[in-house]
Symmetry: C2
Subunit: 440 residues, 2 copies
Amino acid sequence: MSESPSAKHRVVVVGAGFGGLFAARELRSAAVSVTLINGTTYHLFEPLLYQVATGILSEGEVAPPIREIFRRRRNLDVQLGWVTDVDVEGKAVLVSAPDGRERRVPYDSLVVAAGARNSYFGNDGFAEHAPSLKNIDDALELRGRIFHAFEMADLEEDPEARRRWLTFVIIGAGPTGVELAGQIAELAHRALKGQYRHADLSQTRVILLDAADRVLPAFDAPLSVRAERQLTRMGVDVRLNTRVVDVDEGGVKMDTGEGGERIEAYTKIWAAGVAAPTLATRIAEATGAGTDRAGRIRVNPDLTVPGHPEIFVVGDMAALDLPGVAQVAMQGGRYAAKVIQRRVAGRPAKRPFHYFDKGNMATIGRFSAVANVGKLHFSGLLGWLMWLGVHLFYLIGFKNKVTTLLHWVVSFLGRGRAERISTVQQIHARNALNGTPRAT
Amino acid sequence: MSESPSAKHRVVVVGAGFGGLFAARELRSAAVSVTLINGTTYHLFEPLLYQVATGILSEGEVAPPIREIFRRRRNLDVQLGWVTDVDVEGKAVLVSAPDGRERRVPYDSLVVAAGARNSYFGNDGFAEHAPSLKNIDDALELRGRIFHAFEMADLEEDPEARRRWLTFVIIGAGPTGVELAGQIAELAHRALKGQYRHADLSQTRVILLDAADRVLPAFDAPLSVRAERQLTRMGVDVRLNTRVVDVDEGGVKMDTGEGGERIEAYTKIWAAGVAAPTLATRIAEATGAGTDRAGRIRVNPDLTVPGHPEIFVVGDMAALDLPGVAQVAMQGGRYAAKVIQRRVAGRPAKRPFHYFDKGNMATIGRFSAVANVGKLHFSGLLGWLMWLGVHLFYLIGFKNKVTTLLHWVVSFLGRGRAERISTVQQIHARNALNGTPRAT
């Protein structure tokens, strides 16, 4: 690389999700040095996380190591750590390393792309009994719980308790909730069928709850109807206009009926909402940008923070009227990187960020998905084939594309669920005298 | 299945390792009912566990679900639980379920194949600082520690501490120790090369210690020499005639030199010894069979316990003058199953168990392995190709054979380590103020 003065322009990217990854990628041949800071060593392909939780894919297939993605990049430094704060005046991020030490990483341009975290809407006590699905730890925890429930149902002799083990409640009917509900129904009614001698898996109940009046509210209404019909056909009990008011070890309580209805279930999954991470509040306060109701940072049309043209916010952390999907983050990351490159090259700034909506899709079961592309609707097998193609295309790494496709053949044409390990630690964590599960 | 009286003969198999799995398989068309009890839901292909610890294979690839292996079997019941004791008079095993409840499972014939556990030779305090590699939990823990060490070396600025992060000590130079040492050296000097900006991975030290005077003592001496030479060529520091006397957070102490030498290293792995599980002692006491020095149950030449022709002990739990390898367990399990089948059919007992030694092999690095087949010795690429073929042949499931081969192509022809996730929980577990790792 030539030693021009601009070669020293330091870009710090916070987060290696879709936003951060695409920003860092776009800067591949820029005359800048890039530092990519992330709390884990991998990029997470979040749209397929539910397949890790249900035994289809291995965690490595949806979480390629950041260092392998960028192995040929000379102008990029990957650092493991959590960004706890930004010194906007001193132009440095504060990073907490895994050994607890704090350090400052200075920047000339900053791309903030730390994504979203799960939100229990103030009921953080629900988390122990109804884990959510935002990262690999969550997926492995849910995988352990889901497969363990079938094992316990097979061991359990009391019909009441067995029924509780065979009842799965998913709270939230967005894409994650719908995909989890569909996959758990597939497990019970197809993939694991015939593998248990004592429990009758056809008795499995998968209940999908949402306070809204339709599933997949981000999709056009006709697709919600089709998705719901397909879920029902697969044996999922969809309950709309239903708010969960309490979650405990043995079940959930809802606001429906006289004085609230209760479902007895050992396995509950929270897929109901996300919120901005604490870092968003910090940056909004330090810059005076302010946040929207979801805690996301208010940004200019070029994704910069008001008064701080050197700070870009992309993806779920930015208060834009856009859905929290991968495409928004990818395009935002790429846009920010392009603006930085132009500035470093002394060229005029680009026009404002414009999101190009490539569409929205969610799988329901094998051979069935819904896709919303502009005004076009796709569902059933056609939707599923689109889903397949798009996800294979965006998956990172040739190896992951090949093994993922193979796992899909095994799981969808066959019935195998190859990646369904519960660790001994997980099995022991549920070792309670009363037979109910405990959070790890 | 015909309802002959013998259809009710109940066979209980304890353990789904190689011994239990092959016993259960052999009984596939026998007029018996089989109950297979295991502490996890998977069969573990232990010889490839080191590849999970070093990021080559996913845990699902070496640990297929028992229920999927036997999905077409009607005369077999899989139960999750730990066998804590055997009531030899009442002919029942006592099983502790994951929910803590105890139950009795009656048998007419019993096949005990619970394998071996790691032994720290009385120094159980070493376990926290030097985990061993016997199960999936161990492999995931080691995977977290090994890859985390390179990350921390990259973050660490103090040269002394960085050196500690880049030093790996493996205690025990049997196949597991040799394979781990070889793979960690490959990681540092080939696979991860160029992926770190601050740490110089060529400074990585991999130290393989053993109290014996050669590596791979179960192999013929010339192969030990070749293996050691190959390890040295790969950058492994092999130290023989060296006993470890202490292990702490920051390193190990050895009995060499004046007053003992010390190696500073954050990552230590124990691959030094195995012992029989507690269940062996229980059975030996209850039956009066007695144990050998390693705690293994003394058995008759037909693998039954003296005075109890209905109890078979196979694999690592049996006190035979045989190595603790998969083949011994497989052949023992198959033999026990055949004897049971003959008895049920009213045919005379077979001749005593005879182990057919198909040979012994261990990989050292890519394209390099040693194999001992009868009096023949193979090493280098030829040994490695044999190793490849044999392991693919014995891996269970078509899907696992294909994805494993693909992972090997990626890792050995390429340099990818696709399955190297550290969970956030693992990263946090090492979050100590003094920068030293803590056991999870």
